[in-house]
């Protein structure tokens, strides 16, 4: 699965969860750019991603990620693994 395909799946979920954010959904995005993307919002994002892609994350591996791109890379690695 390509990263582009992953972003295409994530973007609607991301925009539903964080509906105040209107900028681009890309690899550079961090919690600093999106006010609603706090720790609880992050759990909702991660669990939504788990359901969409049929993967499971250990909470440790998705805490303190530098940006959205790192999360997408993790999804890609799990899908190819």
């Amino acid at each position: 699965m390509t990263n582009e395909a992953i972003y295409a799946e994530i973007e609607p979920v991301f925009r539903e969860l964080f509906d105040d954010y209107e900028g681009p959904v890309n690899a550079e995005l961090t919690g600093n750019d999106v006010d609603q993307w706090d720790s609880l919002g992050h759990v909702q994002l991660v669990v939504s991603i788990e359901q969409i892609f049929g993967v499971r994350f250990d909470p440790q591996e998705v805490t303190d990620l530098p940006n959205l791109g790192a999360l997408v890379d993790l999804i890609a690695a799990k899908k190819s693994g």
């Binding site: 720790s39 759990v43 788990e50």
Partner: protein, 303 residues
């Protein structure tokens, strides 16, 4: 932080919290940047009380708050994945939380600071003081079941109530409440007694507080019916319980505020006022749509 500069105690607690838990900076910044000056002033008053309760243990309490947020995130993952709380029986909560004194102490310490850092928690305290206490009878008898950190009992003792009583099933919890009240410097005598409401003495009160207890019970409706029987007709009740709020010892899931309001009504109360305070101060529509935590308050009259 600039907005807190006028309030030295709150400012000091804020700095200490970030010293022991730097990863919380974004959260706390947003929490206060998005709050009105009036609300920050109210939180600053709470900070004075919290600091007195904490005494010399402030740093430990700040560390325990950081520990609590980790426990809450674990529960949040479970809740979002399954749609259920991890525990469903009192026996499980007793075994894994209440019977573990180290866990309980950290938990209660963390919850104490949550009254400053979580907007919904501080707004409940402010609502209680401003909206509920004026309704209670001058010189009347007031009871709190499950007083925990003692903040609401302390405020009730400052009100026009004639007598103030706290009941809890746990001697350990009562001891904690007693210590907190002592630290807060309450002048009015407060009776703290170990009672399970199921075998409650046949006393009657004029007003009653039941805050953050319903979600810990297997049969919350039955508990509310007992509370109704403890109130004189016309007596006032303040019920506060959270919706969609996973925590290590929450066992009863309310999925929306109406589930709590309807239950209070069903137990024999006329609903006088309700209020919803979503977690993270989210707009209520967003909180409902995403099933976020909503601290729900119901004020009722015994009929």
């Amino acid at each position: 932080m600039n907005k807190l500069e006028a309030y030295p105690t709150l400012s000091r607690l804020y700095d200490l919290q970030l010293e022991v838990f730097p990863a919380h900076e974004d959260f706390l910044k947003r929490r206060f940047e998005n709050s009105s000056d009036e609300h920050i002033g109210e939180v600053a008053q709470l900070a004075e009380i919290v600091e007195r309760i904490a005494g010399y243990n402030l740093r430990v309490i700040a560390e325990d708050y950081a520990w609590l947020t980790d426990r809450m995130l674990e529960e949040e993952y479970h809740f979002r994945r399954t749609g259920k709380y991890r525990l469903s029986t009192f026996e499980e909560a007793e075994r894994t939380v209440y019977a573990d004194p180290v866990f309980m102490q950290k938990y209660m310490n963390g919850v104490l600071l949550s009254h400053l850092w979580w907007g919904n928690h501080s707004r409940v305290i402010v609502y209680f003081r401003r909206q509920f206490l004026p309704l209670i009878r001058e010189g009347g008898s007031h009871l709190e079941v499950g007083p925990g950190h003692g903040l609401l009992l302390y405020l009730a003792a400052q009100s026009q109530a004639g007598s103030v009583t706290g009941w809890d099933v746990s001697e350990t919890s009562l001891k904690n409440t007693r210590n907190a009240l002592q630290a807060m410097g309450v002048e009015k005598p407060i009776a703290l007694e170990a009672h399970n409401i199921v075998n409650a003495p046949s006393q009657k009160f004029d007003s009653l507080t039941f805050s953050e207890v319903l979600e810990h019970l297997e049969e919350p409706l039955e508990a509310l019916k007992i509370l109704r029987s403890l109130l004189n007709e016309g007596g006032k009740i303040f019920v506060h319980a959270p919706v969609n709020s996973p925590a290590p010892d929450h066992i009863y899931l309310f999925e929306d505020p109406e589930a709590i309001i309807d239950m209070v009504e069903q137990a024999g109360f006329k609903i006088e006022k309700t209020e919803c305070f979503p977690g993270m101060d989210a707009p209520i529509d967003r909180a409902r749509k995403l099933k976020l935590t909503i601290s729900t308050i119901v004020v009722g009259t015994a009929i």
